[in-house]
Symmetry: C2
Subunit: 423 residues, 2 copies
């Protein structure tokens, strides 16, 4: 269970209520017209889980593997990483997931050296099937691990891509196992598609529960039972000028990767030119408590009042760790923490920071996980996606487009061609 609380004390008037119902109506329309496809993933992807489990049961390379390498950049890998970050500690026996996710020679060569081909399944994930960095890393992996796609290693490589994409055709050519991402699901909305579900299932995570949690949230939202999401969206959209930033403040290292996914979802979806031709959007920030709380709180309380704050915390860390009652000579003040767990301390610090912020009337909300469960992980993914859709509709932008992609790919290609000439 996740509890959502909005602390802004803001009460929408007639105009705002109209905006809210209009935006919800548009989300319903996006679902019905299939403009966006992520709403159906929690139900549709259950088939993928069954299929992957059946395939894994029959595949010797998978049975022998202890590592899943995900080759993919941005949307196609950040979501998987985010879920792994929240749940990994619950799966001491799960296969390791290693992400080849950046065209960085230092990071890559370190990761390459951690992988033993005989115990690894490689997933190449690219929606378009042509992503430059993904293809470069795939080439390097084929070369470095001497992947023989025609024979021995055919079962070791799986493609995840759009139906009919060049990567899809490549996989067909070699007879590689392929899973497809629905065409109307963009990278940053694809976590619960094959892009995330295949690696997580193969690694051994309970993806059925993950999807179940997401599915219940989707159902509740469309039944009109999660009104707080639209309320929060409305506050953010209507105050986009006075509060152009949202700071997601996750208490616990488990949220490090989630922050990255959230920042990508938010930035790419909401940074858009609106229907009147104005540049609009909200800027996402991610911080981790308690590490960042001193500096963040200083900026939030004494810096410009330009941020809304979203706290994310976990009530019960389950395998929590006692702070032992070790009295430290000359440090009697430190005894105050004795008898608590590290989870208690983390949460009490979060509560202390929240109270200071609420007292200053800084618009804030809290998202409290009862625990780190698969269902909660699924729910929080769709919660942020629904929030994004709603804010997008309220800002009158096309949430699912990514118009910068094409000019950017062109510019990169130009650079590469110029580079070729110089060489």
């Amino acid at each position: 269970m996740i509890t959502y609380e909005i602390k802004s004390g803001w009460i929408p008037g007639d105009e705002e209520n109209e905006l809210i119902s209009e935006a919800i109506g548009k989300v319903i329309e996006e679902r019905e017209s299939a403009k966006a496809g992520y709403f159906n993933l929690p139900d549709d992807s259950k088939m993928i889980v069954t299929e992957v489990n059946a395939y894994a049961a029959s595949s010797e390379p998978i049975a022998k593997s202890d590592t899943i390498v995900v080759i993919g950049v941005g949307g196609t890998s950040l979501g998987t990483h985010a879920i792994g970050g929240m749940l990994r500690h619950k799966y001491p026996n799960a296969k390791r997931m290693i992400f080849f996710e950046n065209s960085d020679p230092i990071g890559l060569s370190e990761k390459f050296s951690m992988v033993q081909k005989e115990k690894t399944i490689f997933l190449v994930v690219s929606k378009s099937g042509t992503t430059i960095e993904t293809m470069a890393m795939f080439k390097a992996a084929i070369d470095y691990f001497e992947l023989d796609l025609k024979n021995d290693d055919r079962e070791r490589v799986i493609a995840i891509t759009d139906d009919g994409s060049p990567l899809c055709r490549f996989a067909d050519h070699f007879g590689l196992k392929t899973y497809t991402i629905p065409k109307n699901v963009k990278g940053r909305f694809s976590t619960l598609s094959a892009a995330g579900i295949v690696p997580l299932t193969l690694a051994g995570y309970d993806t059925n529960s993950l999807l179940h949690g997401a599915s219940k949230m989707i159902r509740r939202f469309f039944e009109g039972n999660e009104e707080h999401i639209a309320l929060k969206a409305a506050f953010m959209a209507m105050h986009a000028r006075s509060y152009p930033m949202n700071l997601l403040f996750g208490y616990g290292d488990v949220f490090v990767s989630f922050n990255r996914w959230y920042k990508q979802l938010w930035a790419e979806s909401l940074g858009k030119i609106d229907r009147c031709g104005n540049r609009t959007g909200l800027t996402p920030m991610g911080q981790i408590g308690t590490v960042d709380q001193h500096s963040s709180l200083q900026l939030i309380m004494h810096g410009p009042a330009d941020k809304t704050i979203t706290f994310m915390k976990v009530e019960d860390f389950e395998n929590d760790m006692e702070i032992p009652n070790v009295p430290l000579e000359m440090l009697p003040a430190s005894n105050i923490v004795s008898g608590f767990t590290f989870g208690d301390l983390l949460n009490m610090e979060c509560d202390a920071v929240c109270e200071m912020i609420f007292k200053e009337d800084i618009p804030a909300d809290t998202i409290t996980f009862d625990r780190l469960s698969e269902e909660n992980a699924g729910e929080i993914i769709v919660y942020f996606q629904l929030l994004t859709s709603l804010v997008g509709n309220m800002l009158h932008i096309d949430t699912y487009a990514q118009p910068i992609d094409e000019p950017m790919e062109r510019q990169i290609t130009k650079k590469l061609e110029q580079g070729k000439e110089i060489k």
Copy 2:
């Protein structure tokens, strides 16, 4: 060598030039009056390096260790982490550095399980000597690793703290080795003090070169030869309302920890109430290329024009990795990357993104490392510290204060006391 380029095309007028010389004058004053002590660290800390090396040569536990555990939160550990991130790959034989830096039961228990006491040196780092989380983690480490401070493990634990602090007295009581941080150096400015220099030296990094690089930058700045820093500071300070955010866009995984340090430095130093009683400051953001470039660029180009962008890149990754010439059937477009290295690709993508941003007149600057060297790492630390001091003076705030600390500690203590009563 690091090259700094400002792309804003902004030319300061008389008023701005006056602000610039005034701010530089104030920094000179801060150094002379010892209001801030970080200016002297590059020279003063050379003694620490000598001392640590001599001590390490005579200590059996250090000789036998392969791991340095740094117990500390925020300023006292983020800088060490940042330098480790930029240089670690150059030191395949260096001791591992593991950071106990968050009161998080999941992260901590994972880190605890990675450590073998017999091969580890524990550094407890706390400026005040009373930081709640640091003391809690220290207690847990004493308990978990059965550290016998009176006998066997005395040489295994080193304290780094303010002279005379409770932790300092604790260390004296047990006869632990202690290094002190100058009183006029705040956590976020302490990277080149004992806080960073002791762990990095013990781990085996060439900290003399690190300090040398920093020292040269400090000297050049005070000789008036790094005028671009004040120019960038002036643009940022004078446009703080129109561009309230600075996005540090590091190309390469080596900058992940640097971003975290930068965000802390910037937020805690610049989020302040100015001399007229107004809340002021600039908000730092950190992103990593190429991972975040699609989403960031979308937000930068089509979202509100409210950010300045700082690109940070490395010209030559030295041990760069070839993208092998592996033709992929059905994927002829992917051949464009053949013949390049991953470093080339990373940098050409960075250049492509830069060009798009410059063309839109978005205020931006680039910081280009010729390579990842100790000298460059030292230089970039003081570069950002000097920039922070200058912006602080231009915003008429007290850059080195952290007024939120005390009310926050009070609030946390209150929470802990309430928690005790409930238990």
